[in-house]
């Protein structure tokens, strides 16, 4: 492997990992936001059901 190969490998891994983490984070946020909306709208009926 030549010098630049190592450089690109390092930069590639780092930035893909960061982007990947951000994507996962966003997805988790969206799921929870959807859950929150679901809990809050037909909210009262659900609350009574859960109690």
């Amino acid at each position: 492997m030549k010098a630049w190969d190592f450089v690109f490998l390092a930069y590639g891994i780092v930035w893909s990992a960061l982007v990947f983490y951000l994507t996962v984070l966003r997805r988790r946020c969206r799921k929870i936001e959807a859950e929150l909306v679901r809990l809050q709208s037909p909210g009262d009926k659900k609350k009574n059901e859960q109690k």
Binding site: I13, V14, W15, L22, K47, Q50
Partner: protein
Amino acid sequence: MASTTKKSGRGRSILGGLAFFFILMGLYFALIQAPPDAYQGEVQRIMYLHIPSILTAYLSFFIVFIGSALFLWKRERRDDILAYAAAEIGVLFTGLTIVEGSIWGKPAWGVWWTWDARLTLTAILLLIFVGYLMLRSLIEDEDQSAVCGAVLGIIGFLDIPLIHMSVYWWRTLHQPPSILRPDKLPWENVHPAMLIALSINFIAFLLVYFYLLSSRIRLGELQEEVKKTRLYGAA
């Protein structure tokens, strides 16, 4: 509540945009503008990733400490969310630091891994962070989990200087940090163009870190919101 989330959402987007801008600038300076090192050649460019990474990882650890201490003192949920978020992202950055160090090490030293001071210290840091995450996830009760995590966050941080000293005394193979040499001023050791590239990349990493941190905190706050809604009904 809704208005503050919108405002913080906009703040986050601005932060993200700024981070993205600095990333591009950093990449340009690191890969194109900065000259190759006299001894190491192009491979030295990995340092523009490695040094900001490790510094950010240490910053994250410090934030875990602050969050943990505040939580034990005031018992406010948001301090716990801060600590957990910083730990999660800290694991990410510490892991990346090790990978970068390893990739740099192969052409520079000829080996993928060596038990020198800096790499060993980073590995230990990673172990403590991972231990924190495992501890938190294995304790079911949330309040207990928060307290126990906070204890580890504080003790772990207090241990860092001691770990540092013991590992450094044990191993002194790593190159003396060329920027932080005590006898010379920081800018006398390094070529100015390299210093600029390093600074820009450092700012970029900081911005990315805080962007990720604020997003992760938002996730934590949402989770808290869901929990409260389940328990007490809609606000």
